[in-house]
């Protein structure tokens, strides 16, 4: 594990609080990064918002709970929650196993899709991870 690079897909945008965002048709899908799931380790619970919730930029929309710690989930852009991944309640381990795929948490309909440009690119995020982890 010491030599492993954290996965940081090019097709996502990132936040400093370790969420990823990816355009998926008309919605933006959101989850936590490989670095985040690695730091949290065994995830046992995800608290999801309700469909239809209006999120302001920077709003906490849920919580990820691991054996050791609790972490807020923050959405950096404004939008309405249109999809929630409710199967995560039975399979929280998907966040650890496949954080960018099966581990997606919510999808929002963004107020302004251009707000994504203000987020970190994969390269920016890689630097942010390296600054904290040394890797």
């Amino acid at each position: 594990m010491a030599d492993q690079d954290y996965k940081i897909p090019e097709d996502c945008h990132y936040t400093e609080s370790d969420e990823w965002l990816r355009e998926d048709g008309a919605v933006v899908r959101i989850g936590i990064t490989d670095y985040a799931q690695s730091e949290l380790n065994d995830i046992v619970f995800v608290e999801l918002p309700e469909r239809g919730t209006q999120l302001e930029a920077g709003r906490t929309f849920g919580v990820v709970e691991s054996v050791k710690a609790v972490s807020d989930l923050v959405c950096p852009i404004a939008g309405e929650v249109v999809e929630i991944h409710s199967k995560l309640s039975e399979h929280p381990e998907w966040l650890n196993e496949d954080p960018y795929g099966r581990g997606w948490i919510i999808a929002i309909s963004p107020e302004d899709i251009d707000e994504l440009d203000g987020l970190l690119s994969a390269a920016d995020y890689r630097a942010h991870v390296k600054a904290r982890s040394g890797k």
Binding site: A2, E65, V67, P92
Partner: protein, 369 residues
């Protein structure tokens, strides 16, 4: 017992570089840089319950009492029966102040006729030493007190396969000590004190070795264990002990809580004259303590954390430890509540502003099959 570390930074056990090489996530604990997890806390937990896991607990402290009055001094300090702890035996107990509050929970080894070894929590080594020295000074008893913590390494090898793995490194004629007993032996030529004790609820050993031989011992045990032996960190150590409802100093035990409130009456031997005995006896005259430590199983999947409020019909309690328990597939917690609540009682824990229902249960939460 520490690799050289720059002053003011975290201390290291002799195994530090082994942990880093194994890819462990390192965190500060009791002033040491310790492995919290190597792969997954839940996997390491399950490995200990089904096969074997090995923990580096070299950060813990070892104090040696030696002299004509060693047993007498120890009895003033220790709530459990010292004189009845014969050679080769191990006993668990508490060290208290006069109010009954706990200075530390320790395991006591009768290593000689007039010699005892106390194994103490890493976070309390300095406080324990100061307390022992103070009691000693006031007593005028003839006894030497030595801090052997730096010179001693300690590994815990726990799980159904543990005895078999250790036997591979031991001389053929070594009889495994019984539970709560220890033996001096050589493992792969390394002199150790092999103690049939542990903090996980599984069978196994805690193995004391000279600090400078601890790496060799770790390597030899890894090789002997092969795929059956997982490296396990402090994360799994915590989930395992919480499943057993074993106290952790700083959570269930501290100067503001006494052994009776903590449900540890069976480790208190009245009539021995230990510091704090009168305070603990007073519980008996009052019909028991006002608050008691209980085990809770929560509905749902949210985890209760230390400090969370417990709501009861008789007033608030507080969570002292909480985690997700793989062996029960539910979140569990330990906490202090008003004394009247028995297993089966329905309470609630406040988690981030909402009440999560929970039930008082008999502990331990996990029973070995």
């Amino acid at each position: 017992m520490s690799e050289a570390a720059p002053a003011g930074e975290l201390r290291r056990t002799p195994l530090w570089s082994r942990h880093v090489a194994a890819g462990a996530k390192m965190v500060p604990f009791a002033g040491f840089d310790m492995p919290v997890v190597y792969s997954s806390i839940l996997d390491e937990h399950r490995a200990v319950r089904t096969r074997a896991g090995m923990f580096d607990v070299s950060h813990m402290g070892e104090l040696r009492l030696r002299g004509p009055a060693a047993l007498e001094l120890a009895q003033r300090l220790f709530t459990n029966d010292v004189a009845g702890t014969g050679l080769g035996r191990v006993r668990y107990g508490l060290v208290c102040v006069e109010s009954g509050g706990v200075v530390d929970d320790v395991t006591l080894y009768r290593t000689g006729e007039r010699e005892l070894l106390l194994c103490v929590n890493a976070s309390n080594i300095a406080a324990d030493l100061a307390h022992v020295r103070e009691v000693h000074a006031k007593s005028g008893l003839d006894c030497e007190i030595e801090d052997e913590s730096e010179a001693t390494g300690l590994l815990a090898l726990q799980g159904p396969e543990a005895l078999r793995i250790v036997a591979r490194l031991a001389p053929a004629d070594l009889k495994a000590p019984k539970r709560w007993h220890f033996a001096r032996a050589e493992l792969a030529g390394i002199p150790v004190l092999l103690s049939r004790t542990g903090y996980t609820g599984e069978d196994g050993y805690e193995i004391f070795a000279p600090a400078e031989r601890t790496v060799a011992l770790w390597d030899a045990l890894r090789e002997a264990g092969g795929d059956a032996l997982a490296l396990a960190g402090l994360g799994a150590r915590d989930t395992l002990r919480t499943e057993m409802a074993y106290p952790l100093y700083g959570h269930e035990l501290d100067l503001e809580h006494d052994p009776i409130e903590a449900g540890l009456e069976r480790f208190v031997a009245y009539g021995r004259g230990f510091l704090g005995e009168d305070a603990l006896r007073r519980h008996q005259t009052r019909g028991g303590p006002a608050r008691r430590l209980v085990g809770l199983v929560l509905e749902g999947r949210q985890v209760a954390r230390p400090g969370f409020r417990i709501e009861t019909p008789a007033g608030d309690g507080v969570v002292t430890s909480g985690t997700f328990a793989p062996s029960v597939d539910a979140p569990i917690a330990l906490g202090y509540v008003p004394a009247k609540f028995e297993p089966g009682a329905n309470l609630a824990v406040e988690i981030r502003g909402k009440l999560a229902p929970c039930k008082v249960v008999a502990t331990p939460f996990y029973q070995r099959a």
